[in-house]
Amino acid sequence: MKRTRCARPRRSLAPVLLLGTLAAGACGRHEEVALVLWQEGLPTSSPAAQGFQVPPPPFTAGVFPCTDCHDPEIPVNTRRRDLVTAHTEIRLQHDEEHRWCLDCHDAGNRDMLHLAGGELVPFEESYRLCGQCHGDKYRDWRAGVHGRRTGRWDGEKTYLLCVHCHNSHAPRFQPIEPKPPPTPPRRTP
């Protein structure tokens, strides 16, 4: 059932989200609602309950749920090593001298991530994991200032997860091709 939770956001939480948004709008403290929930250590059931509507995480087709391949019965090799049998396309460029898979991915529950303190978080709440190191960005993101938001300036907004724009294994933004330049004004002969 954990699997279902991660794979798709719960539909039944939509009214909660709406109420959350309304309450946040009414008291004008969108950010603090999320903060309060976080600080009190309540079980944060979903991003929506924290005040953020986010699309599902951008998994590569076929990689999730992880337990499809990572059989919970097989003991986990916790030794830090180069991956040669699977996930060879992942080239970690994210503080790679100090980090590796199991710093973020949980060894006990392969379909979850974990925070530094051990709390499990689903992939759709990965911003909490990123926010542990990138606190300034997390603060700006919650206020809607870091990252892209769509929707209504006066109401419901859709946030993007950090991983919608940043590859979590190599988060630096890659250069992109620009759209064509405007036509320069013609000189009269």
Partner: protein
């Protein structure tokens, strides 16, 4: 509008045109009341609600027939207590020009001759914000190019707008929610506003705007993205047709790096207030005291 033309000691422009048209109508035997045509009507802000409604209906019928699909022309007014402002994160913008083309599609700019409301300036990191050495025509395989940063510009919606002050006919003004608008049917095409604008934000339709029917955005606003005639000035309206309906402007939604922020300056929980309170913010050419509603900030 159907009452007879008044005669008093100082006849207004409308009285004069009314009398003139009356003579013309009498001469040709036409029985159309000429004061209802766009050319003879009063200034937009002097029109009664029923006159505006009729004008919009006529405009919708005309544009629908011209483009062969249903075009709506709205005239949503400003919301009380709302003051729009815009903020752009210079540490994020990569100069990809997605905003330029999203704007063209949303706002029905002429494709040929080309009209862009947004101009992205490439600047040298060594020189800083320096318009003298900025390049709007950079052609790169990939952006951002090393050693450069990008400053997108469009209408700054100044609170003290030189363009509004200079317009000789009152065809452009600032709305209560802060959007500087143009009535394309009142603009005489003198381009005084263009020379007054310190930001190069206004654009003139030198030729008949080329807008293919299949590329037309049929949801239009009278003061915004409705198709423009030749010989009038146009510019960014913060996507008036979207923002007055509660949506973000098209450029905000398309920006792949999330550099563009928009909201209500009077909302204490809004992103604009957060930026003004927490970030380093500046406006372009502040020495001119135009007091723009368009802020640039450093998000990092």
């Amino acid at each position: 509008m159907s009452e007879p033309c008044q005669t008093d000691t100082a006849p207004s422009r409308r009285d004069f045109l009314c009398a003139l048209a009356g003579c013309a109508a009498a001469a040709t035997g036409a029985c159309v009341d000429p004061t209802h045509t766009p050319f003879f009507r009063d200034h937009l802000r002097e029109l009664a609600p029923d006159e505006i409604a009729r004008m919009l209906r006529e405009l919708e019928a005309k544009e629908s027939a011209r483009f062969g699909k249903e075009v709506t022309v709205a005239m949503d007014g400003p919301r009380p207590g709302v003051e729009f402002a815009y903020a752009l994160d210079l540490t994020r913008c990569v100069g990809c020009r997605r905003c330029v083309y999203a704007c063209v599609e949303e706002n029905n700019q002429s494709r040929d001759p080309e009209v862009h409301w947004i101009r992205v300036l490439e600047m040298d990191k060594e020189k800083g914000v320096d318009f003298a050495h900025a390049d709007a025509y950079y052609d790169a395989k990939e952006v951002p190019r090393p050693g450069h940063f990008y400053v997108p510009t469009a209408c700054q919606h100044c609170r003290n707008a030189p363009c509004v002050k200079t317009c000789p006919v009152g065809a452009t003004w600032q709305e209560p929610d802060g959007i500087v608008v143009i009535d394309y049917d009142w603009c005489i095409g003198c381009r005084c506003c263009m020379s007054a604008c310190p930001y190069g934000a206004r654009h003139f339709n030198w030729g008949e705007p080329g807008l293919p029917a299949e590329e037309l955005n049929p949801k239009t606003h009278y003061l915004g993205n409705r198709p423009r005639p030749r010989g009038v000035v146009e510019k960014c309206t913060f996507c008036i047709q979207r923002v007055r309906a509660g949506l973000y402007p098209a450029c905000v939604e398309v920006c792949p790096v999330g550099a563009r922020k928009f909201g209500d300056l009077n909302d204490p929980a809004g992103e604009i207030r957060y930026i003004l309170q927490h970030k380093r913010v500046f406006v372009l050419k502040s020495e001119l005291a135009t007091l723009p509603r368009f802020y640039y900030f450093f998000g990092a």
